[in-house]
Amino acid sequence: MSATLIDDPPLPQRSYWKIFARFCQQQPLGTFGLMLVIVMAVVGFSAELIAPYNPTANDFAAMTEPPSWQHLLGTDQFGRDLMSRIIYGARTALIVGLTSAIVGGFSGLILGVGSAYFGGKIDLIVQRLSDIVMAFPLIIMALAVVAIFGPGVQNVILAITIPLIPRCSRVVRSSALTVREMPYVDAARACGFGATRIILRHMVPNVMAPFLIMVTSFVGQAILAEASLSYLGLGVQEPVPAWGLMLQGGAEEYASTAPWIAIFPGLAIMLAVLGINLFGDAMRDALDPKLRER
């Protein structure tokens, strides 16, 4: 037996590149989504290098100009270049989307795994509190938080993060309940490891698949929520370039006379959320062993 084991050839080490290539081959839509997300990230974080104009500079000589070679996506009512504002707006969307999703996701992860591990009264209290927060739709909860703390980027992030926490916690908890009963968790407990070590070293890594899928979907939800809050005048404020804010200024007053003011920020929101959702779906498929086998 032992000779056989020694003679077995080593399992092939798959490089990240090969994993990525396989993902691209098996998930073409997800790859398209990933490309959109990458483009958005690159554009957003190198806005200073890419944007042709200052996104907040008024140009009264170029007010509500339609798309042209000088302004590829046209200008808004203040003569500000729409392309530059959309490029910088990607940064705002990413900052709000990623921060809310990551902070909300990780908080929900710790809370969900902890709740499952400890069980009993702690689990009961955490889950009932989650029920209360989840009773409100995300945007309503976010509106309430902004109404209390006021508008602005930080408060918008806070407003979106709070309702995301119980959503992540609930999904993660259901996976963690299964993990808690695994022999290796019992073994860790028998070895005298503390709760923190068991949760972080043995349980959290085993609920990462649903967690990553949740976080990915949260980014899209957060971008949409930020756009909605800004559209309602409760998110980021002028002159900060933000897609929802651009819709608020343009869509209402200039929908018929200068429709490009509404169309391009709307397209940006749509493509960003589509990309993130496609990528999230593909990642779920890729991480799901049952779907992976097919």
Partner: protein
Amino acid sequence: MRIRYGMLGLALMAATPAFAEETPKRGGMFTYMIPADAPPSLDAHRETTYATLHATAPFYSVLIRIDPSNPSSPTDYVCDLCTAMPTPTDDGKTWTFKIRDGVKWHDGSTLTAADVTKSWQELIHPSAGVLSARLPYYAMIDSVEMTDASTVVFKLKFATSAFLPALADPFAYIYKKEILERDPHWYEKNVMGSGPFRFKDMQIGQSISGERNAQYYHPGLPYLDSFTGIFTPKQAVEIDAIRADRASMEFRGMPPSARDQLVKELGDKIVVQTGDWNCVNMITPNHGKKPFDDPRVRRALALAIDQWRGAPALAKIANVRTVGGIVFPGSPVAATKEELQKIAGYWPDIEKSRAEARRLLKEAGAEGLSFELLNRNVDQPYKYIATWVIDEWSKIGLKVTQKVVPTGPFFDGLRNTTFDVTVDFNCQGLINPAMDVGKLLPHAVYSENYGNYEDQKDIDLYQAMLHETDPAKQRAAMREYETYVLDTQAHAIMMPWWERIVPMRAYVKGWKIGPSHYVNQDLATVWLDK
């Protein structure tokens, strides 16, 4: 764009007075919109909103008013209930008004000088528990007395040019003495006047309607059989209603984009009346917060703004138009362009102005200053103004963020002076420069000033101007006051004055736009050409 403004030009041409040239047609029902949910009450003495005035003005009379055929004039006062505009006696301190004979209340009883006297006494000295919203405007009035059944005498504490505009306040409805004595709150929920229309019906939050008063004392008026005012707080609904001819117009005013849209879609079926509006936004720094306690910093804020180039551009997208000082631009006591250009913030050479702003900031140790601009969650023109000035300030190195909050928290912020710098406003009814500029007085004297400063010289200059009765000298005193508050102390920075834009169905005739959406709202002269 060219096509759009070409059409607009045609529409504006079509809007030029049809008042005198055409023969009015009688009859018809006029439907207009009131851009509000509902009036807080029906009593104009206690309210300050157009929601009350646009709904109830057709039911009431006033003592004097701005001439409805010339509402743009800030000085053309005519009698409504009186028989002739009096000449004052006692060095301008006594004004005697003769009241028309045969004026009937809508209940059939006769209106007398006693009703006029009682109404004005309630405005000046309201009964306990009764609110008179514009009390400070009547500060110069000492007493109102009835000397006989058709004579009312106003005695003033001091002669001032501010008296007649105060008297012509369109909110100063004449109420029936007997009702006021029985229940001073009766008019908050009920209507009974002597105006061109009798009250017919009101559906809370939906509409108010009236029918022609056949016993109206101005011969031949009103022309309409009836009217209905529909409460429509949403601008999109208003545009749709005008487009579909479900309503003919709204009187308050719309932004340029709405005007452009309606003109583009309705062509010659719509006309647009425009004019300066007695409303202005201003930027008020909080003097109680450093570094805004330093006049050099406040002057720098003013010097950074290119009013002359900004105003015409903003006029294309926001309901603002005219560069002006503290006085309504159409007034005889308003500053001329040459006079304004000597004041900080109005210099003709913007590069020189901004260089001076940078120098002042450096001298005050406030280079690259960062602060927050408080603003009200109202698009037109508040947010447009803020976006513009933030960009202007960035040109002298200031880093400004905006905090937009709903109306309630906005006023809390103003009253608690928790802001760094705020978008402020001064909206008045009739043009009454001597009273309107009181906004620039310290809060201790004028409660609606939010600059958080004390300044005795400011008060002294204002009082000298207010008590001056010679027009030329008053104008000079106004210049001195204006230069002090806008340049020397830079207590506030005036923004371009608002523009009133009223698109209306072309068949609506007999109504002329004025500098206030409170003026000329009794509908007596309105007729329908269809």
